[in-house]
Each structure stands twice: as C-alpha cells, then as structure tokens.
C-alpha cells in the first residue's frame, strides 16, 4: 500500500538517499535499520513530505503522494512519530493528544480516541494536565505514539522507538507497538536496536550510506551472518 520507488533525496547539493525502494503492505510491521547517518530519518521525512525526492516516486494506494504538502499526506493516513518525540513542550499532554486529531479525518472521533489512548496508556491519563516538557523520557515516548495514533493513521511511522529508554521501557514500547499493529495499524519503524526491531518486524530493510543493501523477513535477517556481524556484533 505504501510504495517507495527509486528515490534520490538531497539536502541542498548533498545527496543522502540513492535509489531507495521499499514497500509496506497492509497490516505489516516493517523495520528500517541502519547505522547512524545511514539516511533512515531522511527516508521517513521524505515519506511525510518534509523533503521532496529529486528522482523516483512515492505511492500510497497506487497514487502519487511525493508531490503533496505534509498536511495532505497526514490527511491521507500516514503519520510520523519523529525522532526525539518532538512533543509541543509548553502544551499539556492532553493538548498534545488533541493536536494529534487535527486532521479532518480524525476530528469527529477525537473524544473517543482520547479515551482509548488513556486506556492504552494509563500513565498519560494521570499526567494529562502536565506540560509535556516535564515528562520523563518513557512518558514522552508514550505521549508521542499516542499523539500519532490520535490521527487514526493507516500507517504509523516511528523514528527511533527505543532511543534513550531503559531496557524495561524498551520492552514495554515494543509490546505496545505490536498491540497497535494487531489492532489493525500498519507500522514502519526505525530503531537503533536492530535486535529488537528485527524481532517484531515481519519484514525489514537495511540501509547503508543511503542505499538499501539488504531486505527480507525479520527472522531470516537475524540469521544472516553479515548482518549479525555488522549490526549485532556477533
């Protein structure tokens, strides 16, 4: 349903993505893994419309979206939880969540969704009037994911799911992502923790220096000798 076809992406004159292609099918969890500066975040920014590819195209349900502005892309049902959470620091948890339902597709059901989010993330309910700038890292991550879900996305993209979280919280986050997926949301995630990412992903892509160098099922990539050596250090 989400089809990235041979995109080249630049920052100014510097090319960062080279001929990148990847697909996300309905209901899947797809992981995009790679070292620092490989171009993972750049890929997500391009899907979200913050960057425009110089070549190639991005299709969503067979329609071009790479020419659209970011707000139109969200309206179509693709949302991103950006690297570093990027919550609005001087707004409350609840106001952040409500902003998640800014797209017209989600506004009518905003109140129901808010209730659902508080059920999935009870700690957010307790902190609903607190400014998000004062939340702990784990709470911020929950809030960022919940804010993304408030838009009722078809595809939820999460950049750096587990960065800066304790191992326990990482486990909790990963479990949450799995549950969200089981409820019907397709997921494209980036994680520095290749081990975790490949464990929950149905399929995965490996990005190196702006190029896709490997792809396959999560489990089979975990068995791959090159990947084990380069990313898991085994």
């Amino acid at each position: 349903m989400l089809d990235i076809k041979n995109i080249d992406v630049f920052y100014g004159d510097v090319q960062v993505l080279f001929d990148v292609s990847l697909q996300v099918r309905p209901g899947e969890i797809v992981a995009l893994v790679g070292a620092n500066a490989a171009g993972k975040s750049t890929t997500l920014k391009t899907i979200s419309g913050l960057l425009k590819p110089k070549a190639g195209e991005i299709l969503f349900h067979e329609k071009n979206i790479h020419t659209l502005d970011s707000d139109k892309i969200v309206e179509k049902g693709i949302i991103q939880v950006p690297e570093g959470r990027r919550l609005f620091p001087r707004l409350s948890v609840e106001a952040n969540l409500e902003l998640g339902s800014y797209p017209k597709r989600a506004r009518a059901k905003a109140q129901d969704n808010l209730k659902n989010m508080y059920e999935i993330f009870p700690q957010l309910y307790d902190r609903r009037h607190q400014l998000t700038g004062s939340l702990s890292g784990g709470e911020q991550q929950m809030c960022a994911i919940a804010r993304g879900l408030m838009s009722m996305p078809e595809v939820l993209m999460v950049d750096e799911t587990s960065l800066g979280l304790s191992p326990l919280l990482v486990k909790h986050t990963i479990r949450t992502i799995k549950e969200i997926n089981e409820l019907g949301t397709t997921i494209l995630l980036i994680d520095q923790n290749v081990n975790y990412a490949l464990r929950i992903a149905h399929r995965a892509y490996v990005l190196e220096n702006g190029r896709i160098v490997m792809q396959g099922e999560g489990n089979s990539l975990l068995e791959d000798p090159y990947l084990r050596k380069a990313y898991l250090g085994i």
Binding site: L50, S70, D71, P82, R86, F88, L99, Y102, P103, S151
Partner: protein, 292 residues
C-alpha cells in the same frame, strides 16, 4: 497620589498589551517582525474616526467592524507582503514590512492629510472621582476593560479551539506541527490576521484619548517593541506583564521626570536585556527555526 499613578499606569498598560500582543503573536508563529504594526494601529484609529464622524458610531461599538476588516487586511498583508518574503534572507523580510509601513504612512498622508483627528465621545472628558486624590478618566477605563475582554477571548480561542492550539503548536515546533497535519502556511495567515486585528482594535480603543495622524503608529510600535522584548519575544503572558510594566513606568516617570518619560522605558529595557536576555517570560531560542 501613588494610587492615582498606579491606576493610570495599569489602565494605560491594558491598551499597550493589546497593541503589542499581535506583534508577539506574529513573531512567535511566523518568526517575522511586523514593522508595519504601528501603521495597522494607525489605520485602526482612522477607521474608528471615520466611523464616528460619518455614522456617529461610538469607538467601543466600532470594534465589531474593526475586527473583521483588520483580520482581512492581515490575511492580505500575509499573502502579498509576508509570504513572498518568507524564503528570502532576513534583511529582505525586514524591508518587506518596513516598506509597507512607509507606504501606509504616505497613503494616509495622501488620503487624509497631516491633520490631527480625534473622537470626542460623551464620556471623553468625564472622570470618576473616587477620593479627593484619585480621579479616573472614564474613557481610559472603557479602553482598559474592552482590551481585557478582547484579550480574554483571544486566550480562550488559543487554548480551546483546534486553530488556536495549532497556532501554539506552530510557534513551539514548526516541523512537528507539519508532521501533525497542520498546514503551517495557513496558520501563519491566521496568526497575521489575528495580530493585525489586535493592532486595529488597539487603535480603535486609543482614539478617544490620542490623535490619529499619518505617523501616529510610530510611537506605539516603539512601545510595543519594548513590551514584547521585555516580556520575551513570542510570549503572550510576557506581553501582558510587559504591557503593564511599561504602562506603570510611563505613568510614574510622567509625574516625576516628565522629560525622561520615553527614555525611561528604554533604559529599563536595556537593563532587562542585560539581566535576562530572553525577556521575563522568554524561551531560549524562540527566534530560531525561522520561517525558512
């Protein structure tokens, strides 16, 4: 005596808040300094003056006309002056709104001449005497109360509506707002529209006490800059506190050292900048992540 000074300072501050809040809103959201803000206020004075002289409309009622007209004027200013300069270097942005300010001054001179005009309402010269020492001008109270009501409506709008929350979101993190599906350009347009409506309103409320003339906006934009930088650029609570402080300062020095009235808040302003470079309520880096 002291009470009298405090009261008139606070009353003055109320209108200064309204005059400055649009400037801080436009800067906070679109990261553009609207140098034409004083001229928008001046046009608000003229519109209110003409509504009074032609239709005999009281300035307090004319705000119902001033709000939509100045909101529209703001959106046009965004579309034709600010938007084209958003991707230009900062200096070009300055010239865009500064150029507009000069254009509007000249236009006003051409249309209405250099005469000083004002509105004398039935309450213009009435004052309420509370005690032998304290008497309060009714028109100042009317302007103050109306300012506060408008401010209250603005704050509720920002806190409760989707557009209001989106305005706050864009001012706090522009790219995150884009990722939430907020059309940043449209929010800029609303912010400039609302900012201009506030400036026009301030003009409407000031006209019973001040004169409208083509360069009437100049002294108000200077005051607004002091208020905004004092409170912290882009901060609404900052503009509120800053407005009251500048109003008080003006009324205190106006009594004790009238020659230094205008100089005094600039001195205060420099001192504040030395102690708190981001202003009283400023957030570090509020001016970063510019409109580009």
């Amino acid at each position: 005596m002291i009470l009298q000074i405090l009261i008139s300072g606070i009353l003055l501050g109320g209108v200064y808040i309204l005059a400055s809040i649009g400037l801080t809103l436009i800067f906070g959201v679109a990261k553009v300094v609207n140098f034409a803000h004083g001229e928008i206020l001046m046009l608000g004075m003229y519109l209110t003056f003409w509504l009074y002289s032609i239709f005999n409309l009281d300035p307090t009622y004319s705000i119902a006309i001033v709000i939509p007209i100045f909101f529209l004027l703001g959106t046009l200013m965004y579309l034709f002056v600010i938007r084209p300069s958003l991707n230009a270097p900062e200096l070009t942005q300055v010239f865009a709104t500064l150029g507009l300010s000069i254009l509007l001054q000249n236009l006003a001179l051409l249309l209405w001449g250099a005469d000083y005009r004002t509105v004398k309402t039935f309450y213009s010269n009435t004052a309420v005497t509370i005690s032998p020492e304290i008497s309060i001008s009714v028109s100042r109270v009317v302007a103050f109360v109306t300012s506060l009501l408008i401010l209250l409506v603005l704050i509720i709008f920002l806190k409760k509506t989707y557009i209001g929350k989106a305005i706050q979101a864009v001012s706090q993190d522009r790219s995150a707002a884009m990722l939430m599906g907020i059309s940043v350009k449209r929010i800029y347009m609303y912010a400039v529209g609302i900012g201009c409506a506030c400036a026009g309103l301030a003009g409407a409320l000031l006209i019973p006490q001040y004169y409208a003339f083509p360069t009437a906006g100049v002294s108000f934009i200077l005051i607004s800059f002091v208020v905004v930088v004092l409170g912290g650029i882009g901060s609404i609570p900052g503009a509120i506190v800053g407005g009251i402080i500048v109003g008080l300062l003006e009324s205190i020095t106006g009594v004790f050292v009238p020659e230094l009235k205008e100089a005094s808040y600039f001195i205060f302003f420099i001192v504040i900048l030395l102690i708190r470079p981001n202003g009283l309520f400023g957030v570090k880096g509020a001016g970063e992540e510019g409109a580009r």
